[in-house]
Symmetry: C2
Subunit: 485 residues, 2 copies
């Protein structure tokens, strides 16, 4: 594996002449009107929702079929041009920054639902289908797809970041809910990573390798997803606690009783203020759990009653149950607006989002230390958490024009990540590495693991064309990591 | 990736002098009494429970610590000796055959439970801990590990084959239940693939890559596993149907109602005869589902009642409920003895086990075609299935001294695998590839996927020392695949 480390870095960018030749071939393939090079469109496609510096590509193209996607990849290969897959642009660690230029492949025009099997409880969709589009299609069929990140991401993007969401505690993240992928490899070939069988032991798990690979190992064109039957009944509850410790200990108890909660989310006092402020609500301003129960009506009632009892035992000061379906939906709509709610506390602010995840037993100490650090550093940051998984986000509200405050926030973030890793956790529970977290990979995994990752990348993409400068390859460029200016 | 294909095959075996030098260094490391080279021990360690030809290693060593495991790997690396990890020897596709000689690393002396956290519902065990050993340790703690292959495999072996079992339909297989691995890499370094956090998006998923890698990418020393709280209540039922189609359609209906059955297993008429014969039972000889329900007492009763209703709607001719806990245990003990029961139908026979897995919607046709093929080919083979996952096994009962019958069985097996792949399924649902299924990898996945697998193998183990001649690398040796003589 030493070969990889010794390999010289390739030329960072195509020359002007090389780029011109690339664009000409793309125009021949797609027609000139489908090769976008305007300033605004390039800038938009190099910018995600993160705090990291954007980097526009040299061109944006949007394939309309798998055949076009294969052809685009092969044109890029012929020109040695980087390929940066693009979904909804909602990633949070600089995943879509075209750090070496090249071609942004915007997958949003490939948005067909290819095949739906209710008997097999699976669906095959093109990469550009969005989470909400899929939800709407599945609703009348009595089935749903349980991975729900906050934004309306594309399925291809969710595959590539290994997304999770509020229901992961019960139904798993993308890695547990993707059966198979159709991918254009760095060799320019179209492959299906796996059969549609529910289980398989037929060789290395390329599906899981590509999930969370952030477009560095291939271009995802289609995904086959596991579905779940829509529960007959659902109910929701909100429980406020005297202290954060009580709230988290309640979660541990609920888990140990084996109560299959569908959602169990934490918001701290500051986040509750944000919800009240943003949505005109009147929640108690205290550490709060948002819960949801799925099952048949008896099961849901039994789960809710048992959780009510456990919450009371753990010092809940206020427990409210959603009265009906519209109440339940309103509750989760509010929860999904955590980001916007937090922003509303400081109009015009710039947001930096953290993503630590630790073993649940370490969560209370980690969150309390984080809150203390926020106070000592003089920063404002509501906290929300997928607490059943030990994953929490601080939404730092910053004045981007104040370099000293930004500097303080960077220091805070660095301490937070190191604290999570020291507690047996990870620098990223669900947002991924992009280039924003690249410097932490070696701290978290050690150099040998990063060398393995780099060896895999080099073996599958020896010319380093697929989303270069991300994940393990980004570590060589770690000094370039800086906030947007 | 073409590099890999062009690479010459390395010398298949060490010379006698090279082997002598290897054994001397192992003896220096461990003491001569711990380097086993007796004929019987070598033969035993090169023989699994499959139909494939065994291949003894040149020596067997059993590390007692991770440090010793690292040192053994590095001695083997220094001598260019193949390393074949060994667990309980219960694999079914020739996984442990030392096809190029070398050192069998028997992990059974590394059988400590390293750390157990009830708060986090996880446990870290050494690779040599067996499934039943872990079960016994967890029982008094009120938690369990839900992956239960038929044999008393080691956890390291279960990791390496990507094992599943009767509860996979509810709780997932190894890929859904392993958090992290401690592994000696082909570079001779000790790495932990991942943190202990419940979720992570921190780079390529090396954990899942190593699960099912069958020892070809490293030596698994420890695994950190997710646990589940023991359900408050469990109950079991057996439902016999007029036809196989009715039984499978009942399963599809149960799944679509979202009833979280913990187990739902199929046995065909011939397998039911075997159970009755072997265990002195009096089951109706008809296609039968074995079911188990987990939850609190109300949930379990409600699930059982609903499944009873669905089974009746689908033509169940006899439904029995396990009266109490000992009845429930007896029922599953019988189910777990399917293999021995089948063998008892033809004393002295030799067994060939198949492992096809198809989308559930294709299962009825696939099983019916398989049964017809059995009849037309004049073979005896009871069928059991993890039917909720679409996975079924034919236990072919053969006279090993009759080469013509063996030949017919090989032909039957080949047709079965191709039928499963054509139906959107896989050649192996849970037994793995070893070298027995190697010829089907390209048929199932296409050549580009096999090239990717080979490129990953070559990147991580460029000298091809870890369990050579298995999975994708076995395809180059496919003509060597033959039944034991």
């Amino acid at each position: 594996m030493t070969r990889t480390d010794d390999a010289p870095l390739r030329d960072p960018r195509l020359s002007i002449e090389q780029t011109r030749a690339l664009l000409a071939d793309l125009a021949t393939l797609l027609g000139p009107e489908r090769v976008l090079t305007g300033h605004d469109v390039l800038h938009q496609h190099g910018t995600d929702e993160s705090f990291h510096a954007a980097a526009p590509p040299d061109a944006v193209v949007a394939p309309r079929s798998t055949e076009e996607a294969v052809a685009i990849v092969n044109v890029c290969r012929a020109h040695g041009a980087p390929i940066v897959p693009f979904g909804a642009g909602t990633s949070l660690e600089g995943h879509i920054a075209a750090r070496r230029g090249g071609v942004c492949v915007d997958m949003r025009e490939m948005n067909q639902i290819v095949r739906l099997s209710i008997d097999d409880l699976d669906v095959t969709v093109q990469a550009g289908v969005t989470r909400r589009q899929l939800e709407a299609r599945l609703l009348p069929e009595g089935v749903f797809f349980p991975v729900d990140p906050g934004s309306d991401a594309t399925i291809g993007g969710m595959v590539s970041t290994g997304a999770s969401g509020t229901m992961t505690v019960r139904y798993g993240a993308m890695r547990e809910n993707v059966l198979s992928l159709l991918v254009v490899t760095p060799d320019g070939e179209l492959v299906r990573t796996r059969s549609r069988a529910r289980k398989s032991s037929a060789g290395y798990d390329l599906t899981r390798l590509l999930i969370g690979a952030e477009g560095t190992l291939g271009l995802v064109c289609e995904a086959t997803l596991r579905l779940r039957p829509t529960p007959e009944a659902m109910s929701a509850a909100v429980a406020a606690f005297g202290t954060l410790r009580q709230a988290v200990e309640c979660v541990i108890a609920v888990t140990q009783y084996g109560i299959p909660v569908a959602r169990i989310e934490l918001a701290d006092e500051r986040q509750m203020e944000a919800f009240n402020h943003h949505s005109g609500l009147d929640h108690v301003v205290a550490p709060t759990l948002f819960l949801e129960f799925h099952g048949d009506p008896q099961e849901v009632a039994a789960q809710a009653a048992e959780v009510h009892r456990i919450a009371a035992e753990h010092g809940a000061i206020d427990v409210r149950t959603a009265a009906d379906e519209s109440d339940r939906r309103a509750l989760w709509r509010a929860r999904h607006q955590a980001y916007d709610a937090a922003r509303s506390l400081r109009p015009g602010c710039r947001v930096m989002t953290t993503d630590a995840c630790v073993p649940v037993s370490a969560l209370v100490d980690c969150v309390l230390q984080t809150r203390r650090d926020l106070e000592e550093t003089g920063l404002d940051g509501p906290i929300v958490g997928h607490v059943g998984d030990g994953n929490f986000h601080v939404t730092l509200l910053l004045d981007a024009d104040d370099p000293e405050e930004v500097e303080r926030a960077m220091g805070f973030h660095d301490r937070l990540v190191r604290r999570a890793i020291a507690a047996g956790g990870t620098c990223t529970g669900e947002h991924g590495v992009g280039y924003g977290k690249a410097r932490y990979l070696e701290i978290e995994h050690g150099p040998a693991v990063v060398r393995m990752m780099r060896a895999i990348k080099h073996a599958l993409d020896p010319d380093d064309l697929f989303n270069p400068g991300k994940i393990a390859d980004a570590t060589v460029l770690a000094d370039e990591v800086k906030p947007a200016g």
